[in-house]
Amino acid sequence: MAQVTDASVPSSARSGPMTRSGGMSDRAIAWLFISPTILLLLAINVFPLIWTVHMSLTNYKANMGWMKYKSVGIGNYRDILTDSDLWEAMQTTAHFVFWSIVSEVVLGFGLALLINRKFRGHSFWTTIILLPMMLSPAVVGNFWTFLFQPQIGLFNYVVSFFSGIDPASFQMIGDVKLAPWSIVLVDVWMWTPYVMLICLAGLRSIPDYIYEAAEVDRASAWRRFRSVTLPMVMPFLMLAVLFRGIENFKMFDMVNLLTNGGPGSLTETVSITLKRAAFEKWQTGWSSALAIILFLTVFGAANIYIKALNRVKQR
């Protein structure tokens, strides 16, 4: 930094580089500029979090605020970790996260490889493919219930048109076997473009001379892919997988509107369990403990994500 320093200021204020006389010190400006953001985050993120920790150790019920509540220690946490329904919700979430990410990576990477060949009109078609990921997940979940309508929905019609299966013979949302796949399908429709976009950035970060060198070595196309393309795109792909993993792990809006956890609790992901416990059963203490467990999981994953982000940034 090359600020103009003023030697006449008192030594107490000289800790940071100074601007010309008349202005505030850089350090004062830095804190003036940063503190509103930090204060807002403390008030709306950190304080509620601390409150959640406190509530998670009690049997508080938010709809009966007048009742005395008492500390239950780590009782809520013990209940949660031994709750079989919750483990089922965890499995549902894992199924959703795993299959949606696998499909998105395969489709997204594939599309990125194709788009990277720069055919005529590629940027127009890329923009079209991007559209779903910019929409509101809740609104998307809602209009897919229309496309998934039993018998008359467009989805059933298209499937029966191409496969000959009777459109009245299956229901995407109501059927026990198909419902978990309906949320995967909508997620893939919505988020494949995200993975594609990041892979595309990875592909475009590979300098041409590496491929040229591979050509000199007479490497086959498959070998070029395996030893140049894949390792170079990997950090970007990791970024996409981590981000989608975190987002899908806490997925609420799309699933809430598409299936609302149903039929029964078959597509009930952890976030939906949490919403039901907190805002329908009003088990505030229990759900606060669950919120903390979820938060710690996501925080750990986010930590890795931000490290990966910085690694990509340094390239």
């Binding site: 959640t52 809602n142 209009f143 008359i152 467009l154 907190a278 606060s288 994953a301 990509v312």
Partner: protein
Amino acid sequence: MIGKSTAHSVVEASAVSRALSGTVVVLYALITITPLLWIFLTSFKTPSDSVAYPPKVLSEPTVEGYCNLFTFHSRQDPDYIAHLPPPTGRCDLLARSRGMVIAGASKTPGRLVNSVVIGFGSTFLSVFLGTLAAYAFSRFRVPGKDDLLFFILSTRFMPPIAVAIPIYLMYRQLGLLDTAVGMILLYTAVNVSLAVWLLKGFIDEIPREYEEAALVDGYTRIQAFIKTVLPQAATGIAATAVFCLIFAWNEYAFAVLLTSGTAQTMPPFIPFIIGEGGQDWPAVAAATTLFVVPILCFTILLRKQLLRGITFGAVRK
């Protein structure tokens, strides 16, 4: 070094493979866009056409869905309708042809206004706070900078449902439940992390020489910031604003838990648009169309900045 001709054959795809890739991508794009086109077409159908089997791609277009979205109507007996003064507009006419009369405006305009107010309010606030913080992080030596930046971004990953419980209780205490102010503050807190990270990237790219020249000319730091940095960061600020706006516009989890009436936005409202006997699909489709069109326009405008936005500024395109 290798000759240009050899390099060309490796890096550039052949014409055949390019055409083939093009076909596959166009096919995927067409499949992907079908649900959106379907919603758009449905918004111009009559309720019975919207649920016809086999699905009707093209039907006599009608604005009934949009009318139903914006008005309340009640069923009346034909005698009563026959004695009314002549219909005043297309919506009136359509309602009467179904044996209904328009009883007033629906909640839709209010919900749209809420979405706009909360969206723009929180966007303005997050970009304002974000620009200041990003400038400070970009230009000054801040103790614990990396930790602070990490903390700021990590708040974005919080599961909304997990923080919704204490925020619900806190807002209930403060009287902020179901208010636009409460929602603006909340969305600002979520968006400011993205704003700081994105804007820091943009400001990092602006050469410091400009400010230093301004400082030498006798400007104070703050004047130099306003006169040299802000104008040069304008594109970045605009892109950041659009990202914040899209988030606030689309947000559902907080909206459905913390608002119920006066401050309710469109996402929790759209699924509850119902007609006589269940969901009125053309009206829902009309609401979805109106809701989604601004986002589609922004996406097309922003496609170049998109990647920066979704990777928190790490990847440039």
